[in-house]
C-alpha cells in the first residue's frame, strides 16, 4: 500500500471514530450541564469547598469564580515547584527557578502548557502528578465551564444568570474528564506507556554502554494531556517519546482524544440551545477548516520542499519512523487547531509551508475545533461576527439564536478577536526590536523570526507547541511568554462572560422571514470565510516575513 493511500485510510478511520461518539458524548455532556442532581462525591466536594452548587451566578460572579480559582492555582503550582527539593519523590531535582516556575505555573493553569523546561531533568513525581497533571484536568474544566456559560447566555432570556461556576467546574472534572482520562490511560498503558514510581535506574545496553530507564506516572498524565487539550509533555520530546506514544495506533488514539471533546461540544451546544442543527452548522465550519488544513499539511510534508528535506529525500527530520509523514502531519494540524500543543514530531523541521500551516492554525484562534471549551466559545464569537457582517450586507439588525447582536455585544466580540493577535504581535515586535531576545533563535534568517513569532502566537493562543529551536528558558522569554499566556487566556474570558451576561438579559426576538438562517450550509460557509478573512488578514504581514519568505527563498 502506498503511504498516501494508507494515510487517507488513517484519516478516514479517525473521522469515523469521531463521528461514532459525536452524538452520545455530546448528549451526555448536555445532560451533565442541565441535570439538577448531584452525585454523592460532588456533594462531598461542594461541602469541602463551602459552596452551594445551586446558586445562580450573574456574569461578574461567574468571572470572579474563574479568576479566583485560576489565581490560587498559579500560586499553588508556583510554590510546589519552588519547594520541589523538599518534596518526596523529587528524583534529586532542585527547586525550579523563580522565572521558570512562574512561566510553568501560568502556562499550565491557562491550558497552554508551554514548556521552557525539560520534563525528565526538572520535575519530580509530586510536581508532575500532583501539580501539572491536576492543572491538566482543571484548566480544561474551566475552559468548558466558560463555554457552557456562554451557551446558557444564548439559551436563557430575561435573567442574566449563567449557572454556577463551582458546579460546572466540578461536574466537568468528575463526570467527563475523569472517566474519559481513566479509560484512555488504561488503553495507553496496554500499548506501552509507562505508569510506575521509583527512581530512574541505569541499564547496561547490548553493547555494554549505559542508558537511563525513565520512570513516572506517564500514562495517566498523557491521557488527560490530550483529552483536556493541554499538551504539556511528561518528557521533553512530548508525544514523540515512545513512552508517551508507543505506536501508530496510540498516535491516532491520541489525536482522537485531542479532538473528541471540542467537536462533541457543538452537539452539546445544539442540545442546550434547543436546536441540534445550530450545532451542526458550527461543527461543519470547524470540520471544513480542520480537514482543509490536514490536506494542505499532508501535501506539503509529502512534497517536502526545502533544501535540507530535498537533500534527505523526505521530511523525516524530527519525525518518528513508526508514525511516518502522514501520522505526524495529522497530529501537527490537530494539535495546533486545538489549544493542545502536544507534538509527536518537531514543527521547526517541517517544510516551511508545513510550519507556516501550523502557525496559521494557531492564528485562526484555535477554533476548528479548538481547545476544550475555548474552541466552542471562540467559534461562537466568530459566528457573531459573521452574523454581524451578513446583517451589514442586507441592512438588518443582526440576530443569532434569537438574540439581537447590538452595539454592546459587537464590542465584546470585537475586543475578543483583537486581544489575542495584539498580545502575540506586540510581544513578537518587542522581541525583535530588543537586542538580546533574538539570540535565542537556533536558526538563521526568516526561520529565526518564525521561531519567535511561533512562540508568542503559541503563548497568546494558549497552544503551547513550539518551534523548539528557540531557547525559551531565559528570563526574557519565561517572563514575557508567561504574561502572554495569562493575557491571552483571561482577557478573552472576560469578554466572553460579559457577552454571555448581556445575551442572557435579553428577551428573545421572534424569528421572521428576514432572519438569517444560521443552521444552513450557507451560514457555515460564511463562518469559514469570516474566520479566514478576519484572522488570516491580521497575521498576513507577519506570516510574509517568516514562513512565506522562507518557503519562497
Amino acid at each position: 500500500m502506498s503511504p498516501i493511500l494508507a494515510d487517507v485510510l488513517q484519516v478516514s478511520a479517525l473521522i469515523a471514530a469521531l463521528a461514532l461518539v459525536y452524538v452520545p458524548l455530546g448528549d451526555y455532556m448536555a445532560g451533565v450541564y442541565s441535570s439538577k442532581k448531584h452525585l454523592r462525591v460532588e456533594r462531598w466536594i461542594y461541602r469541602s469547598i463551602g459552596a452551594n452548587p445551586d446558586t445562580e451566578m450573574r456574569w461578574p460572579a461567574y468571572l470572579r469564580g474563574v479568576l479566583a480559582f485560576s489565581l490560587v492555582s498559579v500560586l499553588f503550582l508556583y510554590l510546589l515547584q519552588r519547594v520541589q527539593n523538599h518534596l518526596p519523590g523529587s528524583l534529586g531535582f532542585a527547586a525550579v527557578t523563580p522565572q521558570q516556575a512562574f512561566n510553568t505555573a501560568a502556562s499550565f493553569v491557562t491550558n497552554t502548557n508551554w514548556q521552557s523546561y525539560s520534563g525528565e531533568t526538572t520535575m519530580g513525581h509530586v510536581v508532575q502528578t500532583g501539580g501539572l497533571a491536576v492543572q491538566n484536568f482543571v484548566s480544561a474544566a474551566v475552559g468548558i465551564a466558560v463555554a457552557v456559560a456562554l451557551v446558557r447566555g444564548f439559551a436563557r432570556s430575561r435573567t442574566g444568570e449563567l449557572g454556577n461556576f463551582w458546579s460546572d467546574l466540578v461536574r466537568t472534572t468528575v463526570r467527563i474528564l475523569l472517566p474519559g482520562a481513566f479509560i484512555a490511560a488504561i488503553v495507553l498503558v496496554a500499548c506501552g506507556a509507562i505508569q510506575d514510581f521509583g527512581n530512574w535506574h541505569a541499564m547496561t545496553t547490548l553493547t555494554g554502554g549505559s542508558q537511563g530507564m525513565p520512570v513516572g506516572q506517564v500514562a495517566s498524565q498523557e491521557a488527560i494531556k490530550e483529552l483536556g487539550t493541554n499538551g504539556g509533555g511528561f518528557f521533553n520530546a512530548n508525544s514523540a517519546h515512545p513512552f508517551e506514544n508507543p505506536n501508530a495506533f496510540t498516535n491516532l488514539f491520541e489525536i482522537f482524544l485531542i479532538l473528541v471533546i471540542p467537536f462533541a461540544l457543538t452537539r452539546t451546544f445544539g442540545k442546550l440551545v434547543g436546536s441540534v442543527k445550530q450545532g451542526y452548522a458550527i461543527l461543519a465550519a470547524m470540520f471544513v477548516i480542520w480537514l482543509g488544513f490536514v490536506v494542505l499539511m499532508t501535501w506539503s510534508e509529502f512534497a517536502h520542499p526545502g533544501a535540507a528535506l530535498h537533500a534527505a529525500g523526505g521530511a523525516m527530520e524530527g519525525k518518528e519512523q513508526r508514525f511516518g509523514v502522514g501520522g505526524s502531519s495529522l497530529f501537527a494540524v490537530s494539535t495546533t487547531l486545538t489549544s493542545t500543543g502536544a507534538v509527536d514530531s518537531f514543527h521547526s523541521s517541517f517544510s516551511a509551508f508545513g510550519g507556516g500551516i501550523a502557525l496559521l492554525s494557531m492564528m485562526l484562534g484555535e477554533i476548528a475545533p479548538g481547545g476544550t471549551g475555548s474552541g466552542l466559545y471562540g467559534m461562537l464569537i466568530m459566528a457573531i461576527i459573521a452574523v454581524f457582517i451578513a446583517g451589514l450586507m442586507v441592512g438588518r439588525t443582526p440576530e443569532y439564536l434569537g438574540k439581537k447582536i447590538g452595539g454592546r455585544e459587537i464590542k465584546f466580540a470585537a475586543c475578543y478577536i483583537l486581544i489575542t493577535p495584539a498580545v502575540a504581535l506586540i510581544f513578537t515586535a518587542l522581541a525583535m526590536a530588543l537586542p538580546t531576545p533574538i539570540h535565542s533563535a537556533a536558526n538563521p534568517g526568516p526561520h529565526g523570526f518564525s521561531e519567535v513569532l511561533y512562540a508568542y502566537t503559541s503563548a497568546a493562543n494558549n497552544n503551547g507547541s513550539a518551534f523548539a529551536g528557540l531557547n525559551a528558558n531565559t528570563d526574557w522569554y519565561n517572563t514575557t511568554t508567561g504574561l502572554a499566556v495569562i493575557l491571552g487566556r483571561f482577557l478573552p474570558m472576560v469578554f466572553v462572560l460579559a457577552l454571555a451576561g448581556s445575551l442572557a438579559e435579553q428577551r428573545p426576538v421572534p424569528e421572521t422571514a428576514g432572519t438569517l438562517r444560521t443552521e444552513k450550509p450557507l451560514f457555515a460557509g460564511l463562518l469559514v470565510g469570516t474566520v479566514i478573512i478576519v484572522t488570516g488578514l491580521t497575521y498576513f504581514p507577519a506570516l510574509a516575513l517568516g514562513p512565506i519568505a522562507e518557503g519562497l527563498s
Partner: protein, 213 residues
C-alpha cells in the same frame, strides 16, 4: 471597603479549598487508580517494556539505543563515537551528545532550509553509504534524519535491508540468514494502514546475537 475585602478573602479561601480537593481527586486518587490497574494487568508494559538477555535487562524495546564501538578515550568529550559494523545501526539521534540519551529526549529542531541541516544530511548520506558499501542514492530518508524523540526504536525496512551485507560480513554469517532475520523482524503498518512499516533495532540485534551464538 472592608466588606469587599472580606468577600474577596472568602472567595479565595473557597477557591483554595476547591483546588486542594480536586488535587486529591485528580492528582492522587486518579493516578494511583491507573497505577494499580496498570501494575496488575500490564506489569511489563507499565514498567517500560524491558527486554532481558540471559536474565539481564539490556534496554527497553520501546527505546532506541546506540550500537557504537567503545571510544578510544572515554574521557574525551570531543571524540565522536564510531558505529560498530557488527550491529544494525539505528537512526541518527539528537538526544544528548552521543545520541539516545534518555535524559535529553528531543529533536535537532533545525529548519528545512538551514545550511547546517543540509550539510549534516549530506555528511550522513556519505557516511552511511561508505559504511555499508552502497551508493549514496540507495540510502533511505530515515538513515539521514534525526528522529523527533531522539529515542526512535525503529528504522525502515529499507534501511535494515541495506545493512544486511555489512553485518553478515562483519560477523562471518550467511547474508541470506541475516536477511531472513530482518524479514522476520519487519512489522508492517498496524492494522494494515496505521503509521509506517518498522524494524525494531534492539530486538533485531538481540536475535542477531543469538544467531551468531
Amino acid at each position: 471597603m472592608n466588606n469587599s475585602f472580606r468577600n474577596s478573602a472568602r472567595l479565595a479561601w473557597a477557591a483554595l479549598r476547591a483546588l486542594l480537593v480536586l488535587t486529591v481527586v485528580t492528582g492522587v486518587i486518579y493516578p494511583l487508580a491507573v497505577w494499580g490497574v496498570a501494575q496488575a494487568a500490564f506489569n511489563g508494559k507499565a514498567n517500560g517494556s524491558q527486554v532481558k538477555v540471559d536474565g539481564k535487562v539490556v534496554g527497553s524495546s520501546l527505546l532506541g539505543q546506540n550500537f557504537n564501538l567503545p571510544k578510544k578515550n572515554p574521557s574525551d568529550a570531543n571524540e565522536t563515537a564510531q558505529p560498530d559494523p557488527k550491529w544494525f545501526q539505528p537512526r541518527p539521534s539528537a538526544a544528548g551528545t552521543d545520541g539516545y540519551d534518555t535524559t535529553a529526549s528531543g529533536a535537532s529542531n533545525l529548519g528545512p532550509s538551514n545550511p547546517k541541516l543540509v550539510q549534516t544530511v549530506n555528511d550522513r548520506r556519505k557516511q552511511v553509504a561508505e559504511f555499508n558499501g552502497v551508493s549514496p542514492s540507495q540510502v533511505p530518508v530515515d538513515a539521514v534524519t534525526a528522529s523527533g524523540s531522539g529515542l526512535d526504536p525503529d528504522i525502515s525496512p529499507e534501511y535494515a535491508k541495506l545493512q544486511v551485507d555489512r553485518v553478515a560480513k562483519a560477523r562471518h554469517l550467511d547474508p541470506a540468514k541475516v536477511a531472513k532475520l530482518v524479514a522476520d523482524h519487519t512489522d508492517g503498518r498496524q492494522l494494515g494502514f496505521l503509521g509506517e512499516p518498522t524494524v525494531n533495532v534492539l530486538e533485531l540485534n538481540i536475535a542477531l546475537q543469538q544467531l551468531a551464538g
